[in-house]
Each structure stands twice: as C-alpha cells, then as structure tokens.
C-alpha cells in the first residue's frame, strides 16, 4: 500500500458477521455498515457524500425529456434467494421497470433497507452486490438510502424499498386507457418463469426443476420499441397477477374488450408442468422481466421486429388484439378451440385439492 492511500480517509469496516440492533442505532456501528456494505457496493458521486439527500441537477434531467416519472415499490420476497436471482435483483429491476413502463428513462434510485436482527452480513453483501450489478445493467445509480434494524420476528430477514425517478421523452404518452379497437397485444417472451421459480424455491413441494426467474431490466427494450413506434398506447410489466391481471387493467381503463390466443402465449414446458401439477393458472403467475404492450396495428410488425433484436425481447410475439369498445372483457381462445373469460383473480391463487 502506498503512503498516499494510507493518509486517505479511513474506510469503516464491519467486524460483525450478523446484524444486531446496534447496526440501526445511528451510531458508529451503523456507519460501519453503511460505508462498508452499502457504499462499498453502490458507490457513485451522488451517494458518496452520505448526505441525508441526493442532490440532482435539474438541467441534467431536462436534457432527457420534459416530464419526471416517480415510483416506489417494496420487496418482501421469501426466500431471499431463488433460482436466477435474489431480492436485490427484484428491488432494482422492479422499480426500474415501473419507470420504463411509461417510457421514462430510469435514472436514480433510493434504497431503504429493513433488516431483521440476526441477518448474515454476508447475505447482505451478496444482495447489495447484485443490486449494483443490476443498477449498472439498467443504467441507474442508487443515490440515497436508509437503513433500519428491527428485532427478530418483526421482519422476515430483509425487506427492501426502492423509489426511482426517470425522465419521459417529449411526445411519449403511454397510458392504460389508450387501447384502441384493432390494436395488437405484444409480449416479450416466456410467461410465468418468476412465479414458478419462487413457488418451487419455497421447497414445500419437493419438485426438482431448472426454472429460473426472468428478472431483467426492460428499459433498453422499451427504448428500442419507442424508436420504431413513439405512439405505444399501453405498456405494463406483468408482475404480480401476471398477464391476466394486466390485460384486465387495460380493458377496464380503456373500456374495450381484448381477445388473446392461448396457442400464441409462450410458456416453458416445465412451467406448464408445474402449473398442471399444482392446479395453478399460468396466466396469473408473476413475471419480473416481461412487459405487455398495446400498439397500433400498423406499427405492430415493426415493433415486433425491433423487440426481437433486443436481448430482452428475443421471444417477442403478438398474442392477441383489442376488440370493440363496450364491456371491459378479456377473452381467451383456448388451444382446444373453445373460448373462456380471463377475469381478475380474487385473492392469491391457491392450489386445488383434487
């Protein structure tokens, strides 16, 4: 180590291997945790001063568009780690994607952590590292944060809240109430991977599969879509509640019917199989890297072509179209040749018993 580095500001090191109440006390232990684990992972010029707030230059924001998008989401997934990802990946991509769904370019995130005492510091380090990796992939920076520690039992290991701001380019106007008769419904690949992966990771079922979460940032994909079709009508990521829920939201907001074709909906064999065994409807399984777009019919092919060239959209397909104005209704033409209504779920899907 050179003499120059030796006289630089001392970087706090966390000595404990598990989180205790002192790490949320506001004192030195908390500073150690923040500097070592969070600043260590997220480091960027806006966060580094460790002020109570990040200060963002308005002119920089205005360069990207004419409206600010602002969103927040809390992440409480159990288990923290699952095939293909962890809670940190969700916490970044979930919020980034919520911004992207109005066409906004995601820029800055906040990160609030609620830690249960007893949490392994190593677990936290791994999750923070994933968050950094995902933030880099999505082109955002985590610029402000907060840490609380609660007593054992008061939280389930780790809860994360992230808020995000992004800037919407001028001329883009994506809203759930803009679906028009004749519009095409496009999705960007296999449905249900995340929901199935989480369900199986809970390991109550003793099923062995290789299903992984589809968690990924979607802004880059949205950007390529907007480049060929600035007038995308509706866009939403099919997270909790899945495709079935998003389509109902579009139908409801726009006052239109939607028809989709079961045969067109891409689903992995193992996800289908898991649903079959558990009596779950894959249309309502959660996704963390899938969007549902409603686009004008005459631009649908161009959008599809652009999407397929993007790594997050190689599996993109048109799955149906918007029908007449009138009763909001989502109808699926089943692979068997029948028709059925796809309604909103009442609560959580519960497995059928026989």
């Amino acid at each position: 180590m050179t003499g120059e580095n030796a006289v630089q500001k001392r970087v706090s090191r966390l000595r404990e291997t598990t989180i205790n109440m002192a790490h949320g006390s506001g004192g030195k232990k908390m500073r150690d945790l923040i500097e070592d684990v969070f600043l260590g992972a997220f480091n960027n010029p806006l966060l580094a001063p460790l002020e109570d707030q990040a200060v963002i230059n308005l002119a920089d924001l205005a360069a990207s568009g004419d409206r600010l998008a602002f969103t927040t989401d809390s992440y409480v997934v159990s288990p923290l780690f699952f095939p293909g990802g962890n809670i940190g990946a969700l916490a970044v991509n979930g919020t980034v994607n919520d911004l992207a769904m109005c066409g906004a370019r995601p820029l800055y995130l906040s990160c609030g952590m609620v830690l249960e005492e007893g949490l392994e510091v190593e677990t936290l380090r791994t999750i923070a590292a994933t968050m950094r990796e995902m933030a880099d992939a999505a082109g955002v920076a985590i610029v402000t944060g907060d840490t609380k520690v609660v007593e054992r039992g008061a939280a389930d290991k780790l809860f994360i809240n992230t808020s995000g701001v992004g800037v919407i380019p001028a001329g883009v106007n994506i809203k759930a109430d803009r679906a028009e008769p004749g519009d095409k419904i496009v999705i960007n690949g296999f449905l249900g991977d995340h929901g199935a992966a989480i369900l199986l990771a809970r390991n109550e079922l003793a099923l062995e599969t290789d299903i992984e979460t589809d968690c990924q940032p979607l802004y880059d994909l949205v950007k390529t879509m907007l480049a060929v079709c600035p007038d995308i009508h509706c866009l939403r990521d099919a997270t909790r509640g899945g495709l079935g829920t998003v389509l109902n939201e579009f139908a409801e907001s726009s006052g239109i019917s939607i028809s989709i074709n079961e045969t067109a909906i891409p689903m992995r064999e193992n996800v289908k199989g898991a649903c079959e065994l558990l009596g779950l409807d894959p249309l309502y399984l959660a996704n963390e890297g899938k969007l549902v777009a409603v686009v004008p019919a005459d631009r649908a092919d161009a959008v599809l072509e652009a999407m397929r060239k993007n790594p997050a959209g190689t599996g993109s397909v048109i799955i149906g179209e918007v029908g007449e104005r009138g009763e909001p209704l989502v109808v699926m033409n089943t692979s068997f040749g029948g028709g059925r209504i796809v309604d909103l779920l009442v609560g959580e899907q519960l497995p059928r018993i026989c």
Binding site: I341, D343, I353
Partner: protein
C-alpha cells in the same frame, strides 16, 4: 407436455364434436328441451370452463355442474369448527390451500391465520404428519376433506401415525362419500338430469360397480370420465350414444386410470380407519344420510373430534342462496337471485361460489358472458 397435450388436441376434438352433432337428431328428449348432463366432479367443471367446452358443444346439450367439489359443499358450521380448532393455543392446523378461503359464519381460516392462528397450507396429509414430528410440543390437526379420492391418503396417514407412535397428530375428518349424494340428487323431485359424467379419481378408488344403481334403478347413463378436455368430450359422446340407442349403462372412458374393480389396498385402508356417519350436513343440499365418514373408535387417539372440543354448531345456509337448485340442475348459476350481485367469488354467499371448482365461481370466472362460437375467428 408429453402424455397431456395428446389429450388436448383440437383436431381430434373437432372429430368428436362432429360425431356428437351427428347423434343429436337421434335423441328423443331433445325434441322437447335441451339435454342436461351432470358432471359430478369439480375437476370436470374446471376443465369444462378452462377449455370452453360448453361453447363448443351443440346448443341442445347443457352441462349441469354437480356437487363434486368437496370445498364447496362444506357447511359453514364445519368451517367454524375448523377455525375453533385452529384457534386453540399450541395447535398447528394443517389444511389444503383451497379450504383456506371458504367463509365460515364469522371468518375463514385465512382470516383466522391473519389473527394469529397457526394455519399451515400442506399438499398432502403426510406433510401434516411430518409437521407433527417436527413440532413435538405442538398439536397438529390435519383438516381431512374430499371424496374417496383423498380418503385413502388420509387413512394411510392415520395408520402411519399409529405405526410411528406420533401422539400429537390428529385428523379433523370431513371426508364425504359420493354415492349417497348422487342418490340424493336423483331422488330430488325437481330433477331434470338425463345422464352423468362419473367422477374419475373417485372411481380410481371405488371402481365402477357402485354406480350400477344409476343405470339399473334410475335408468340413466353414466360414463366415468377423465379430466382432459378430450376425455370430457369423448365421455359426453359416450353418454349421448347411450341416449341415442336407448341404453342406460355404466361405462368407463377413463380406463387408462380407473380399473373397474377400483383399488383394493386403498379401500382396505379406508375401511380400517373410517366408518360411516349416520348423516352429514352439506352446504346447499342439506343433510344426507350416510354421506360422511368418521374415524373408528380404535383410532380415537388420532381423531380431533374426540381429542378437542369441537363446537359442532349448525349454521343454516343463507336464505337467498339457491345452490341446491343449481346443483340439481333446476336453474343455471346465472339464474340464481344473488349470482354476481350479493354472491361473487370476492364475497361468496353460497357454496358454489367458493372454490374455483364450484359451478358458480367457474361460471363467474370463465363463462359469465356467453363467449360466442365465432369469437375464435374474431381474434384473428
């Protein structure tokens, strides 16, 4: 999915539908009114709506969605009993997921869980036994429900508990039997059912001979049916074929799973552990003689009803609820006075709105608005 997709082949479906259409002019009843075919099992109801089978069949053929959803026919008082058991301190109440949301007179198990009761969702009674072994300081009560399909696995679990000498495991037995129920429906004066799709998985256990009385005494055709959409259509064709030829027999479409004699080891386990109750209360159908089973005296140690105080209060079905008439095929779900208004999957009033396999819930979720036959072409 191999061995599943083969039973969902739309081309074969069309062939079957053509054959079904050919049978229609040969059936006399159709000259006066549409045919009413009851699918006994909730699994069939689910398949019918999931694949939109009702809309594929000719107008002259209607499904009547039978009583075969064990969650739906569970009386409110029984749910109250579950809640009371779950709320006993040191009890872990283990249940299949479907039963969590069924409303009792005051709350569901889901609500009881939110209020602090230790309610766990399991996928098999053996999981509940495992819970008991892992929690020796707790009492684990397994909520056993379902027809003959789930009965053997519950019986085997009780036998296993005895063998392993697990004393902190017990069964709250709400298993029901299908035959007296079909008989009660057939004896109903308002009945308008012309034939049956017989339950598949129940028959895997009990075989096909228990249905003989339907064919012989009541002179109705019954076809034991599988659950894939082609199974259902094929079975429907078999029922219609019988009607067209003036036959009424017990036939087995699901013979790849259902042996005519049923499963002897399963029946043996059931007989060893359970005995018939004098009567059992059903939601929507009232009390039916010998339709429920209970744990035999020899296994009293594993019987939650003997081990714990069970309130056992009778709660009457809501007056406005017409589940009984729907079950008997007298009215369709949408014709019920409270369907979709006071009774929705959100706030179920009647039994049939409770589980996704319940006729009304299935109808509400999948078939509320008549999906027209040409919607497939409209979708492009």
């Amino acid at each position: 999915m191999k061995y599943v997709d083969e039973f969902r082949d739309p081309v074969k479906a069309q062939t079957l539908l053509n054959e079904i259409n050919d049978l229609i002019p040969q059936i006399d009843i159709i000259k006066d009114r549409p045919l009413q075919i009851m699918e006994v099992c909730g699994g069939h109801t689910h398949s019918i709506f999931r694949y939109g089978l009702q809309n594929m069949l000719p107008r002259e053929v209607e499904f009547v969605h039978g009583p075969g959803c064990p969650v739906c026919v569970l009386p409110m008082g029984r749910v109250d009993d579950c809640v009371a058991l779950a709320e006993i301190p040191h009890v872990i109440f283990a249940t299949f997921g479907d039963a969590m949301r069924v409303p009792g007179s005051k709350k569901s198990l889901l609500q009881a869980k939110a209020e602090g009761a230790d309610v766990r969702m399991v996928y098999s009674p053996l999981d509940a036994l495992k819970l008991a072994k892992e929690n020796p300081d707790k009492e684990v009560i397994f909520f056993g429900l379902g027809f003959e399909t789930t009965m053997p696995s519950t019986a085997l679990t009780v036998l296993q508990a005895k063998e392993d000498n697990v004393k902190n495991f017990s069964l709250f037995c709400n298993h029901i039997t299908i035959i007296p129920t079909i008989k009660a429906i057939l004896d109903s004066p308002q009945l308008e059912i012309d034939g049956f799709l017989g339950p598949g998985h129940v028959s895997m256990v009990i075989g096909t001979s228990p249905y003989d009385f339907i064919a012989n005494h009541y002179k109705k055709p019954i076809v034991v049916a599988g659950f894939e959409p082609l199974d259902v259509l094929h079975s429907m064709w078999m029922v219609l074929k019988q009607l067209a030829e003036g036959r009424h027999e017990v036939e087995n479409q699901y013979n790849r799973i259902v042996p005519d004699a049923g499963s002897a080891p399963a029946l043996e386990a059931v007989k060893e552990v359970f005995e018939l109750r004098e009567f059992f209360e059903w939601r929507g159908l009232g009390s039916i003689d010998h339709s429920g089973i209970r744990v035999r005296e020899e296994y009293a140690e594993w019987d939650a009803e003997r081990k714990f105080p069970v309130p056992n209060l009778k709660i009457a079905d809501p007056k406005s609820c017409q589940c009984g008439e729907v079950l008997k095929g007298v009215i369709k779900p949408a014709q019920c006075k409270v369907f979709g208004t006071q009774c929705t999957p959100d706030m179920p009033l009647g039994a049939l709105m409770v589980s996704t396999e319940g006729a009304c819930a299935a109808y509400y979720n999948y078939g509320r608005v008549q999906v027209t036959r040409n919607s497939a072409s409209a979708a492009a």
